[in-house]
């Protein structure tokens, strides 16, 4: 009986690792989708409605989907430092301090680069920067979706298999 409980626990633990990996891949897809949608909102607000950046940051800190809203909360808190530090510095610092976005280096770099254009140029130039960043993130999103489809189930199955294998060895 004790052996059976042990076997269930071992298989459960290794399966959890596999499922957690699957969940992380799903979360990355959701977050990248949310970021792309938020960039579309920003593009529309800045380029069509001429919304000032501080106002937009306020709005997105309340209305962007989580965890993107947390990034804008951090940026909003830092906006008081404009004049002491450049907006680009604050944007970059907020991105680097947002592990909840689950960004990989190239994705983070794409977003950091967008900060160099935000609020600095006229609407047409910012639109180009948004479009370029969105395209890059869309390509990362496709990659993340493929990764989830290909490797997600493998990771989950592998977790269970490893558990079963360990149990067999121990028995």
């Amino acid at each position: 009986m004790l052996s059976l409980i042990g076997a269930v626990l071992v298989i459960g633990a290794t399966a959890t690792f596999g499922l957690a990996s699957l969940w992380r891949m799903g979360a990355r897809v959701r977050i990248l989708s949310a970021l792309i949608a938020t960039l579309e909102t920003m593009k529309s607000e800045i380029c069509d409605r001429m919304t000032p950046v501080p106002e937009l940051v306020d709005k997105l800190s309340e209305e962007a989907p989580p965890p993107v809203d947390m990034f804008f909360c951090k940026l909003r808190q830092a906006m008081g430092e404009i004049g002491i530090r450049s907006f680009y510095f604050l944007w970059k610092a907020a991105l680097l301090a947002s592990p909840e976005l689950e960004l990989r280096d190239p994705e983070r770099e794409a977003l950091i680069a967008l900060g160099q254009s935000l609020g600095r140029y006229d609407a047409a130039e910012q639109r180009d920067a948004f479009t370029y960043t969105q395209r890059r993130l869309e390509s990362y999103l496709r990659h993340a979706e493929e990764e989830r489809a290909k490797q997600g189930k493998v990771h989950a199955a592998l977790g269970i298999t490893v558990g079963v294998f360990v149990v067999i060895i121990l028995l």
Partner: protein
């Protein structure tokens, strides 16, 4: 007219528009100098200076860098160059609080029009002043049989005509007149979230960010004003709108660049205004060593 009470010194607010490293030296200057400061000037490779009636002098050591000029642009535009593009095309930004920040440098041209700046070379931060009661001594001279007459305030750039106009608006509004202000650059009332940041009186309606001529016509249609105020007549469309307002029986308060009546007569656009008799009083602001003086001229048709 030398009694200027009380002066609302907005020097400290203007300092906030400077890059962080220049704020401390700007705050260190004498209180008397702060009261007379008119502008901060930043020019690439030169020491930052402060402009007073007696001239310009450095207020900090070191040379202005591109980073500092970029910081001024970022602060003045609230990191939103796209939102101030139209005014940037005309060479300035109206920053929070109604401070005008003039810009110089290399312009960017798109579709044959100035679209902004590729490289900033200089910035001039004008320190807005409110002098409550400044127009008290003027007002009786602007009236005929107790009724306020349409008035044009004249001075060279930086002469203080906006300050006079703002106080006239405030005073007329407090006296019970409905005043409508076409405040294109936001320098008269500094509207923020719908509320004026400067005292322009309790019965004043403001339209800001809208071209002056268009604003006058909108205010005329929508606000039923007794008085319409406009800062700086600069285009024939402005004079056309004022003419329309005057024909509707509205009293006009406006400002224009010029040294005096003779100077005005030399400029075709203003000559037309004078010929039409739109303004009955002319206030000429003169800057002298003892401060500013205000000369009121009654304008009859014989002057035109």
């Amino acid at each position: 007219m030398s009694k200027q009470i009380p002066l609302i010194n907005r020097y400290d607010e203007a300092v906030e528009l400077l890059p962080y490293n220049l704020r401390a030296p700007a705050r260190l200057i004498d209180e008397a100098d702060k009261a007379t400061a008119e502008e901060f000037r930043l020019r690439m490779g030169q020491a930052p200076t402060i402009v007073q009636s007696e001239g310009e002098r450095p207020f900090a050591s070191g040379q202005v860098t591109v980073k500092e000029l970029t910081a001024v642009l970022e602060i003045a535009s609230a990191v939103s160059a796209h939102a101030v593009r139209d005014s940037m095309k005309r060479g300035y930004i109206t920053a929070k609080g109604g401070f005008r920040v003039g810009l110089g440098g290399q312009t960017a041209i798109r579709d044959g029009e100035v679209s902004g700046f590729t490289h900033l070379g200089s910035a001039a931060i004008r320190i807005t002043k409110e002098i409550l009661g400044l127009s008290d001594g003027l007002l009786p001279q602007l009236k005929a049989q107790g009724a306020l007459q349409s008035t044009l305030i004249l001075s060279p750039p930086g002469g203080g005509k906006t300050t006079v106009l703002r106080d006239l608006i405030r005073r007329c509004s407090h006296d019970g007149h409905r005043v409508a202000v076409a405040d294109e650059r936001g320098e008269l009332a500094a509207l923020r979230d719908g509320a004026p940041q400067m005292d322009v009186g309790p019965r004043t309606d403001i339209l800001t960010g809208c071209p002056k001529a268009e604003a006058v016509l909108m205010l005329l249609r929508a606000m039923n004003p007794e008085i319409i105020a406009m800062d700086e007549i600069t285009a024939p469309a402005d004079t056309g709108a004022l003419e329309h307002a005057a024909n509707c029986g509205v009293i006009l308060l406006a400002t224009a660049h010029g040294q005096g009546l003779e100077d005005l007569k030399r400029k075709p656009m203003y000559r037309r205004l004078l010929r039409k008799g739109l303004f009955r009083r002319l206030v000429t602001v003169k800057k002298g060593p003892g401060g500013r003086s205000y000369i009121v001229t009654e304008m009859g048709e014989q002057l035109c």
